[in-house]
């Protein structure tokens, strides 16, 4: 005995079962492909060249109390190859350059993003970036950011056509200490005016360049394979 509703139910049941099977197959094969290509051991070369600190007093630059905040930008080199990440279940890759550091007050641990990029296809998957400026101006929880030792890492997220999101980290990092500026005095006496706070910084540009060479800038790109 067949009725319309019964037939409808049978068809949907079967469609659901098969689509679950297909989804499972796609997820399993793409996972196998990632393991095969050893993507979790992808090497990277990061080199931080320079940094630049601006003092801002807007809420959109981290200042809630009206006190000026130090906003840091960096210039960096980066080399990584994301070509093996692409298989039939890769919609795009989101690669992001983070810096980890410890704050001294309240023993905080911090991770901040300086730069990121959406890699949409295999043709653009080789990143070879020379002296690029970071996308974001980063501030700390505290007013001052200079003097912190940052550990830069390149991390990635595979966004699939269907299934789980895969996260990982490339092998290789770079440490860089944000140089302490001499204009600190200008920023520490609660000067709300940005223009006056930025002037002495321009004067110090030469001095900073000299200091930059001294800054700890070691590049440790080891391949754990």
């Amino acid at each position: 005995m067949y009725s319309l509703s019964q037939r409808f139910q049978n068809v949907t049941n079967q469609a659901l079962t098969y689509s679950f099977l297909i989804i499972g197959f796609v997820i399993a094969t793409s996972w196998f492909h990632l393991q095969q290509n050893n993507v979790f051991q992808t090497p990277v070369a990061i080199n931080t060249l320079n940094s630049n600190i601006n003092v801002r007093s807007s809420r959109f630059f981290g200042s809630t109390t009206g006190k000026p905040k130090e906003n840091a930008k960096i210039t960096f080199d980066l080399d990584a190859d994301f070509t093996p990440f692409f298989n039939w279940n890769t919609k795009q890759i989101f690669a992001y350059l983070v810096a980890e550091y410890n704050g001294d007050e309240k023993n905080t641990k911090n991770t901040v993003t300086f730069w990121d990029k959406i890699i949409a296809d295999k043709e653009n998957a080789v990143l070879s970036i020379k002296s690029e400026k970071s996308k974001y101006a980063v501030w700390d929880l505290e007013d001052k950011f200079a003097g912190r030792e940052l550990t830069f890492k390149l991390q990635w997220n595979i966004q699939p056509w269907i299934g789980p999101l895969v996260f990982g980290e490339t092998v290789g990092n770079c440490t860089f200490t944000l140089p302490v500026e001499q204009k600190e005095k200008a920023s520490s006496n609660t000067n709300n005016d940005e223009a006056t706070a930025e002037k002495p910084q321009k004067k110090n540009r030469k001095a900073r360049k000299a200091r930059k060479a001294k800054a700890t800038n070691k590049d440790s790109t080891e391949n754990k394979n």
Binding site: F94, V98, K106, V112, L141, Q155, N157, I162
Partner: protein, 170 residues
């Protein structure tokens, strides 16, 4: 008209409704999130997530990492937002485990500070995060957007259910 038959049918409908509700609430308990499955409404995470895509959430993690895609909801703004964590700050001592997060949509130019309630510049992991996105299913959720945003679809669906209950004879 058989009263016993009608009552059994009514009981069946009740059973279906309550079991659906139990599955949903059970998922809530397992994932520790008040809405463990969400449908993307805005395009701020394009091209990764488009309108109508379904996301599966998990909220048993104590801390979020940078790069995680989270769904957050602040009490004064009831629309849940799906964005990526740009920064995280947390205390290492276990007594004070408050984590502050700054988020940004991949497709947006700037961070989310202008979206946060009460002039906050950070989200609080404990209170504001609904869940972290773990899995993705494309397009399937479009039917819920279609139903909730199109009144004819709503009435049409109601009518269809009413008609089928009238004509169903077993």
């Amino acid at each position: 008209m058989n009263l016993r038959l009608e009552l059994t049918r009514f009981l069946n409908v009740c059973f279906i409704l309550s079991s659906t509700f139990m599955v949903w609430k059970g998922l809530s308990v397992v994932t520790d999130s008040h809405s463990p499955i969400v449908v993307v409404i805005s395009g701020s995470m394009e091209p990764a997530f488009q309108r109508g895509d379904v996301l599966f959430l998990w909220n048993r993690n104590e801390l979020n990492k940078v790069g995680d895609i989270v769904v957050y909801e602040q009490n004064s703004k009831s629309i849940p937002i799906v964005h990526r964590v740009l920064r995280e700050h947390h205390s290492q001592s276990s007594s004070n485990s408050k984590q502050l997060l700054l988020t940004k949509g991949d497709n947006n130019a700037g961070n989310d500070i202008s979206l946060y309630a009460d002039r906050n510049i950070y989200l609080d992991k404990q209170n504001d995060i609904v869940g972290t996105v773990k899995g993705y299913l494309p397009k399937v959720g479009y039917i819920t957007i279609w139903i909730s945003e199109n009144q004819y679809a709503k009435y049409g669906l109601m009518g269809l259910i009413a008609l089928s209950s009238l004509f169903s004879t077993e």
